[in-house]
Symmetry: D2
Subunit: 338 residues, 4 copies
């Protein structure tokens, strides 16, 4: 908010020719240790769909994990922006595409015949929809395989900060150094008001971006308000501090789940998301009635999703712990806290 | 050809206002035992894609077997015509979607949230890509389930004649009486020069068809040449006679496969297609070298596809039998012929 | 900014289920004196293109003034969102479509033949690209004519506040009471950070809006930040106060133009825009060198655009006056000020 | 029909790998005196829309005469195939775009700003919708201007044979030698059953054609039936003989119009079309009642269109002459025949 108030001070050029926006290329080039092109946007769906439309023709195939946001949660935005490219849903492991899964999907798509779409993009979500994180080796191996097939690699980084904080690596290591061509860089889930960015590591692939952004209605006249968020976000390591906090609190949630019976973790907890399966499905209702907010992920299977945020306090963890014990009818005597 | 020559005789009105085209609605309404709307086209892909675009908005989901033509062999034509609707590839049994498969696919698609596409169409291929045929009960059960979910049902009938000939039923039984809303009625694979039709059993669903056909460049000025083919095709039961012949010859091929070792049928043979797996993959090469024409379906797995046609002669079957025995190094003494 | 800071206080539901967004329907229904549906967005192009895509099929025609933003300044966003509807550029008078112009355009489009797109929408810009304002009678007459042809009417209100302030009418009078079906309600040009709204007066026409917004990547997860702007904007008449100020300062600019020779007003000044033609084209360069900011509208014809804003001060007017006199080499003695 | 019957003889490879189709590249390369790529199609709308989609991105502008088929008679097919490119309707002279008209249109489209679509294609119709023909010099001057702006040039040759027959030039002269990049080569209006071709003079611009044709549903499995028409059409100069006949008969119609009062020619008659304006609009009704077939082009203005064809006989001209004299209540004594 402070950055926004500063951006609000005085007149500015429109459509991204303002001072703040013009600073972003340099700022993010430094962050990513190479020249990048960055385009501020307001939603992650816009970033994903616009990037994909730059990486594939309408007759291309995009390989992605079946639960990935682009495949399952964007109401067909990638298909709309690419004018009908085909998403191949690859079953993964805890939300991660595997090299074997990618190979199996590629094998279903014969080459050299105009009847079939052409394999064009591999899209990886980092951190994944399951809250897991690809290791550097995993990203590298997938990019190698994709590159060998002539695919571009897109990374959906709605939770990129959480992944980088978890890996403790340089943002460059897990993106272009591993073979990623373009990144949807998310800030909204990690504290920004509404700020995402499309970042291209290969400027040649960004050539169509500006026309596509304009046609999509995503060119902000007062772009400085987006840019100010993106500037403040990475200044003084703010983004990683916020994400580390969220990751740490997610670990706290995971510990709480681990300590009681009747609930299990569905996936390794590596970012800010915690997926919990309840043996007793009714306990989910009781948990909600007790005032805990969560996403009823797959109620038929007794699965909920908890998300820790940059704002989640230790107090809130304690309240959750108490509520969980209560609804699971645990012993009246809580075990000593972690 | 005779029908075309007759159509060529004298002037005619353009864009479907000619005498022949105007007779088609009545002719096909009689064939299907109810009022239908029929639109002549030249390719099956056009019929499929145009029909689907009338049955789903861009934010809809189309459920289909994973090997279906619309999903695997049309280079994204359905996505192009629907402006990006999403095809859900359902794994089937011998090319047939099952009720369980449909239910599993529906279960992955939550309702009531704008993040997800809406389930809109079930597309069945009759006969299937594997040469199998849905029974009347199977079509009925699938349509019931689809209807219960508010889906429209499309039938891709590129090999519709073969399916009807196999089932020995009325065309009405396996389409609208079972719950099908629109049919891609194919004639090209069964003897026509280039003639397919989009047939709507519910005229309300055909409302947008003419505008969409025009925009797709599929409105023929001299439509009578398409219509003449479609008229001759169903006159005096020609279509079923041709298809029955092809089906019978496919049974002949299947018998030949059955009688020798080293080759097996991959799917039940119920129409004009015969999928054969070779234990010795090199035999496939030898078979081709011996002059037999076939589609190398999945050479890595030793699978080829044979297609019997309305023109396949008994002599050709005998030649195939001899060639197959030869390449499989069968005994010099052929068993007595079937 | 104050409204944003308040919206920032505490957690909130995502995707428009927050408290602020839920208040908007009622707030704007009161403002427009009837039940409306309002959808917050961040850009005017998104509002225009999304609304148009709800009002026309791909095979429809949209009639609009040739200089209108949807036709000339959105890089084809309406064509993208409508999947290829056709914009008919109607030459207007000072940026206003006339009934005669609409009729002439309609006459070029024969009916009843699938070769031609169907007339579907009339889009009016209020205030226009020329800074002029349609009178209530003019809007009414155009809507009557459009309605008689079965067209929906869209109003691009990027400068709607300026128009309403100029007319001194109720927002209802110049929209639905006159026959407008949907309004792109702009706040960004009149002081908001980035806030526009799609407002539908006929809820039936908004049915597809939410799916289209999602596919366009325009559904904000933290929608409250858009909604807070839209709430503050119309509270205590803020929007009209800001617009009245801008209009008044534009009148001030116009008076300055009137008082000197060598420059003329290109259009009546009825909102915040002032188009000026210079006899001596070099004077434009000198004006820029003197530090005045303006849009070089059509330099070949000696035309620039001045825009007064909610922030334009009397001091700035005085500076402009001095600069203008100076570059036009006016008498050393300035006439007494207006 | 004879060519079709020959093509029907014996089996053939599908999807254009047949013998006839493979001969077309060489045949048309010879006809056009350079290497060309030719793609058989069944409708002119498909040829136009597919070619345009290869020459412009969705954010491009296509300049064309306002009455051109792509702009006025294809229900938005170009917009559909290009995913929303913008057609700029240029007013022409007797259906011909002029250099001045092109320049005026280009001037309305500022460069260098992402708000505006990019000028990408000039589309010329040869012969035009008015039955006139561009001279070689006119085509050359327009192509030069277009080329100078970085535009590709498309020629809609639905009546290409009539134009070449009128000019008496080589097909090469009026296409690539003058600067045309791609041609919609029409045969249907000049005697074929349903055969058009997309011809690219620059193979690099044809790269996307096959994928786009497949997605459009325009890849014929039995392509030889299209190819056989296109082969027979240009063999032994058949196409020019047919077109010359039609042109000659159109001149005959024009002479008849010239000799009577009360009717005038609207445009110079240079191909097979004759546009006639009647002073007495009721005479049009009487003409139709007398059995003459024509297109009621613009009845409000008393304009009809007559089209001579490759089949039009001298007898038919005589009948028309008699009918026209009769409905115009000419003297009982007909003047001696021309």
């Amino acid at each position: 908010m402070a950055a926004l108030a500063r951006a609000n001070d005085g007149p500015a050029w429109a459509y991204g020719r303002d001072e703040i926006t013009r600073r972003l290329d340099a700022l993010y080039s430094e962050l990513f240790e190479r020249e990048v092109r960055i385009f501020p946007l307001a939603t992650g769906t816009a970033a994903n769909a616009l990037i994909l439309s730059c990486l594939t023709p309408p007759w291309g195939a995009v390989f992605c994990e079946q639960m990935s946001h682009i495949n399952a949660d964007e109401c067909g935005a990638p298909e709309f922006y690419t004018n009908g490219a085909k998403l191949f849903a690859v079953p993964g492991q805890h939300g991660r595409v595997t090299v074997e899964g990618l190979e199996a999907a590629l094998a279903t798509l014969p080459r050299g015949d105009v009847h079939h779409v052409l394999p064009k993009v591999l899209s990886l979500t980092q951190a994944t929809e399951c809250g897991t994180v690809y290791s550097l080796d995993e990203v590298g191996a997938l990019c190698d395989r994709a590159c060998g097939e002539g695919l571009s690699v897109h990374m959906d980084g709605a939770r990129f900060a959480n992944a980088v904080a978890h890996l403790g690596c340089s943002p460059a290591d897990v993106t272009w150094r591993a073979g990623v061509d373009a990144l949807s860089f998310g800030a909204t889930k990690n504290g920004a008001m509404a700020a995402e960015a499309a970042i291209f590591f290969d400027p040649a692939k960004a050539e169509e971006f500006e026309a596509r952004r304009m046609r999509g209605g995503h060119l902000f006249s007062k772009m400085r308000y987006l840019s100010a968020q993106l500037e403040a976000y990475v200044t003084d390591n703010l983004w990683l501090r916020l994400a580390s906090h969220a990751n740490r609190q997610a670990q706290g949630l995971a510990s709480i789940i681990d300590e009681v019976s009747g609930v299990t973790l569905l996936h390794p907890v590596e970012s800010d998301e915690v997926f919990v399966r309840f043996e007793d499905h009714d306990a989910i209702t009781r948990l909600r009635d007790s005032g805990v907010s969560f996403v009823p992920w797959d109620i038929g299977s007794g699965i909920i999703r908890l998300v820790a945020s940059f704002q989640t306090t230790d107090d809130e963890l304690r309240q959750f712990r108490a509520a969980l014990h209560s609804v699971l009818q645990a012993e009246s005597e809580l075990p000593p806290q972690v």
